[in-house]
Symmetry: C7
Subunit: 90 residues, 7 copies
């Protein structure tokens, strides 16, 4: 069973670690807004072209996400491209 995001959004597996590897720590105050997660599936621009993130990317995202689903017991959310702040490249 695969989930294929539609439009300018991605599906993220949420990561709840306080201290992220590599010294990036998202302070509690910000935590409610910024979180980290792994890209599980990627949508496209309206013309079908690729978004600037790929499956497996580790990302930091902001905004207020409400589109949440549970896959095999793990929390996933849909995040709009505009709310993806950055990739974290190890």
């Amino acid at each position: 069973m695969t989930i294929k995001p539609i439009g300018e959004r991605v599906l993220i597996k949420v990561k709840k670690e306080e201290k992220t590897s590599g010294g990036v720590y998202i302070p509690e105050s910000a935590q409610s807004e910024n979180k980290e997660g792994y890209v599980v599936a990627v949508g496209t621009y309206e013309d079908g072209s690729e978004l600037p993130v790929n499956e497996g990317d580790k990302i930091i995202y902001g905004g207020y996400q409400t589109d949440e689903i549970d896959i095999d017991g793990e929390k996933h959310i849909f995040v709009d491209l505009k709310d993806i702040l950055a990739k974290v490249e190890e």
Copy 2:
């Protein structure tokens, strides 16, 4: 009798299963927002070109839908393209 959506929207037959096939479960909290359903009919972009979903697709959608109709006793709703989060491909 066929119903032909106009513009960037689709007609969905709503699916109320808690546990979706394939382990995708939409948690209660999110449930009021995200739901699953099957595409029954598809509109077009303003220039007449096709939308990126097809009849029979199983989809997850968000947003707050109010455009509801009942066809042969089954609940259907019109969903704008922008509120379709993803296709679920078995």
Copy 3:
């Protein structure tokens, strides 16, 4: 006397039937929003090109319409193209 809508809107003769022919029933809850009616006259896009509906089409429309007129004792309303949800083709 003819009424020629201007811009991206159409003139609809409102239909109040509970059960629409062909099993499409617009539930009470939705009724205040979605209604059915017949297209009486059609406007155009700004460049003068045709809208994707024609006189005589039976349509389902949403949104909150306030532009109402009475023609020969029958209730008509102007509906913006963006509020036309679908055509009902018998």
Copy 4:
């Protein structure tokens, strides 16, 4: 003395008849919004091209008009093109 509207708007001489000729009657409830009037002068699109209405046209308009002037004792108002609902052609 002539008044030349600037931009996408027209100058209307307001008509207050209950029953309009040809059986078009604008019900009281709608009346505060929709009214009828005659086009007295027409503006242009930004590129100078003509609007889809002409001097002398009888029109139905909606929206909430506040730009009112009095010419030779008769009430006139400026109406934006987007608030012109239709022409009434006898």
Copy 5:
């Protein structure tokens, strides 16, 4: 000393006459919104091209103007192009 408006706006010398020449009278109720004045200086579109009004034009304008300056004891205001309703040509 000259004042050169920047962007899609003009500088108007405000005229407070009740009865305008040529029978155009702006009723008290509207008066707080619509006023008359003479164009003193004209800005440009972003690409530098000319606006559809010229120095010396007598105009009727709407909207709520707050950008006021006093030149040699006379009240002037900056009016955005979109709030200029019409030219009054004698």
Copy 6:
């Protein structure tokens, strides 16, 4: 040390004189909104092209500015292009 504005904005040295040279006086009521100042540094349009103001220009600006900095004890503010009302040319 130079300050190079980024985007469609300029850096202004604020001038607080009541009576401006050349008889332009910005009435108290307006004063809180409109002020005069000298352009100290200029940003660019997104494509890098020049804005229609230059260093040294004396300008009148409106809007509510909050981006304030102090350079060598003198009050400066960043003003968006859209809030620059006019140049004052002696």
Copy 7:
């Protein structure tokens, strides 16, 4: 570990000095809005082209930033391009 901003934003290391080098002082009142910092990483325009700032640039930024992360104990924030007011070039 590198952090690569996505879209029209940059990652800033926040600088809290009262008096900035070169006499630029951001008054307390403004301080809550305008701050200074050093660009640590830069995103791109949607078409992939470069933003008008570079790593190492010292900048003044406004707006209300909430996307905060902590890298090796130092406060960093994501700032949208539109909120970057200027570069400070020594």
